[in-house]
Symmetry: C2
Subunit: 480 residues, 2 copies
Amino acid sequence: MSLHSDSLAAALAAIVGEPYVLTAAGDVARYCGDWRGRYPGAARAVVRPADTREVARVVAACAAHGAAVVPQGGNTGLVGGSTPDDSGTEVVLSLDRMNRVRRVDPLDNSMTLEAGCTVQAAQEAAAAQGRLFPLALASQGTATIGGVVSTNAGGEQVVRYGNTRDLTLGLEVVLADGSVLDLLTPLRKDNTGYDLKQLFIGAEGTLGIVTAATFKLFSPPRKVVTAWASVPDPQAAVGLLASLTGAVGERVTAFELINREALDQVLAHPLDGMRDPLAGGYPWAVLMEISETSSAMDPTSAVEAALEAAMEGGLVTDAVLAASGRQAEELWALRDHVPEAQRLQGYSIKHDISVSVSRIPDFIARADAALAAAVPGIRLVCFGHVGDGNLHYNQSRSAGMSDEAFRAVEEEVHARVHAIVAKLQGSISAEHGIGRLKQAAFLQYKPALAVSLMQRIKHALDPASLFNPGRLLPRSTSSN
Amino acid sequence: MSLHSDSLAAALAAIVGEPYVLTAAGDVARYCGDWRGRYPGAARAVVRPADTREVARVVAACAAHGAAVVPQGGNTGLVGGSTPDDSGTEVVLSLDRMNRVRRVDPLDNSMTLEAGCTVQAAQEAAAAQGRLFPLALASQGTATIGGVVSTNAGGEQVVRYGNTRDLTLGLEVVLADGSVLDLLTPLRKDNTGYDLKQLFIGAEGTLGIVTAATFKLFSPPRKVVTAWASVPDPQAAVGLLASLTGAVGERVTAFELINREALDQVLAHPLDGMRDPLAGGYPWAVLMEISETSSAMDPTSAVEAALEAAMEGGLVTDAVLAASGRQAEELWALRDHVPEAQRLQGYSIKHDISVSVSRIPDFIARADAALAAAVPGIRLVCFGHVGDGNLHYNQSRSAGMSDEAFRAVEEEVHARVHAIVAKLQGSISAEHGIGRLKQAAFLQYKPALAVSLMQRIKHALDPASLFNPGRLLPRSTSSN
């Protein structure tokens, strides 16, 4: 007799095995809420298939039972896109057991991994064959391949290597009818019809379940120069990026802006040995990485010269180059610790916006002013990827404010920031996606014709709205 | 009174003006056949709108009259995808009057152009602002932006900069109902829903009419090293690419393989001053370009050292570096003249295949043997982009063979080549697309599930099959 009184849970257990269907409250809890604690949900069941065939059969069973499927990877998403709602009717399909590296091919610079591999495991699999998988995220130890594909994740090296879409050569996807679409290929060029894999990249699990991916690999850097510079303002950071790119070309691998508040929050909750790399309480810092893949050349002196020229020109007030790999890691730890440090500060309001690079200073000036007027004393935590025009423009409550009071102004804060983004023709979600958190803003700012086209695509691929209903596109679209 | 007795032609004239609707046989001829002369067709009318609004109104008029629309750019395609069939019922919508550069933004490294701009005009517009638009094709003087987007064109610098898809930031598209989808954006990151522009890139005009595009721009090279090397065989070329990449990293901008037959055909029909750069009647040549965007570094000595090491290792038998920009142009002219020289040789059979880079030698060996067995004396014209695994693997008739006899074996030649491509998990169309020429092979080798999904997408966006019916996807799909 099955442990599951629910007929669907019993059917799932018959596919994946009894231990891999979870229904008890204690077992499902970690799959039902997001890490920021904003979307507590309930699942009809959590199912953990072992391979693509099992995923396909699970999908078919859920379709037969009319149960919505919420695919989940590392559950590090920020927009409520990978956890069940509170209805208790949705099935969480976790890819966490599908973590095999299927193939690493250093000669052809490609690699095929299952969806449940972490980004860090992917980096390590490539490195073991002398190759670079350049996707790098603060959450890389937990975030998975299926998740980064489904959200078109960006991260810290996009300025040089592109986002997940740019790195993806092929996909394997389970469709809503339980069929398996095998688009895995290491080919660099293939113009045989529509590039179907593009549909599933960044679709947030609404069009199919990504079960495996083939990625581009690169020659690893032979020489990495990491530097931390203090700059007077965002305009100087943009100017520094331009002159650095002029000096060393596309070797600029990362160019991260961090404001004083973000750095102060990190230093208030320091990890082992963290300290400010420069003195003087400067208002803005840039963490930059320049990497060289040729064994015959070294960009160090060109970087030093560019920084010296920037200091003479007033773009930089002080700078330090990491003298070792360990020092470089320490600089990166400061950057990567920002989200966690902000979480420890209390409730935070987050934005993930992009504008043209040249408009970054204008955006920050306008948004800072608008929020200071709306919420006196609000703390502005601003950091991000200047080279991509992408800022994580976040807020922490003012000193005397309660979390509850801060939550009460959240919609107002979002509205003000998004209005400025729209005015500057930017994006309200540069790399985090829409999920549930940003759906209202998405529908407000995205042209209606574009949304309507997305609905047509959704209906063509998933007519019963089996996959992640109500995320990204509103639920009502499932019935048209 | 209208010059046009056809009510649709009269309606089109009312939209774009009398002079821009062509119906007389002498006027429409140049729009009705492809440059290789393989698809002579007839048009109900050729219409040449001046702007996006006119395109939208033209589409709506054609839809109202039930007339299929065949979008056309520079008409340099190789697969019969942009010319009307011989029914005389299709309307050719030429974008040739829409050739405005809308915006070049050197600060944000982006550029927006209308569909009718030539690739060369796009390069020049970028260069005028100190920027590089890296798409480079033999047909760039005629091929247009709308065409390269609709075919996801590749070309000679893909190994470094990617294909047209990789270069495209945004699109403006007229849909089948006459609405205008404005996806023009210079943003580098924007995860607000499905990336709709991807649908239209490489769709060969079957899902919408691309009227404008926003592209990425790059820092121009400060130093370009161009070299021509003789190599003993394709395996040596693949080995040379790996060692060159190891020496100079991603500065390898082009790496073109050319066989003796291709070079001999060029030298038999030389343009002004063309000559073989090296002596000795070597069997294979590689034309390589290495470019450096940093003003602080020069890769010349690293390239020289890599070539010397390759000569010592037997990968290269001889090599010459271009001593001037003019010499570099002369080397490129040899490569770019191959298609025209082959045309002058008589009827040619063409393939545009890709395999993993490491499988190129295996592909050539198998295909050469299979064709020599099938058609004794057949001449194998092999050239292409080794870095992308993409070969133009073409054939000219044997010395004593007539064009007619050669045409008679064409299907057999295609079948043998495509079977080997399939066995090596390659693509039967790496960069030219499907059109009409390759539809049968596409349907034979593409998984049925993928084709079915494409049909669902086509039906969702163009339910009446107004746009380019029968190209890429078979005509029958229009009625499902």
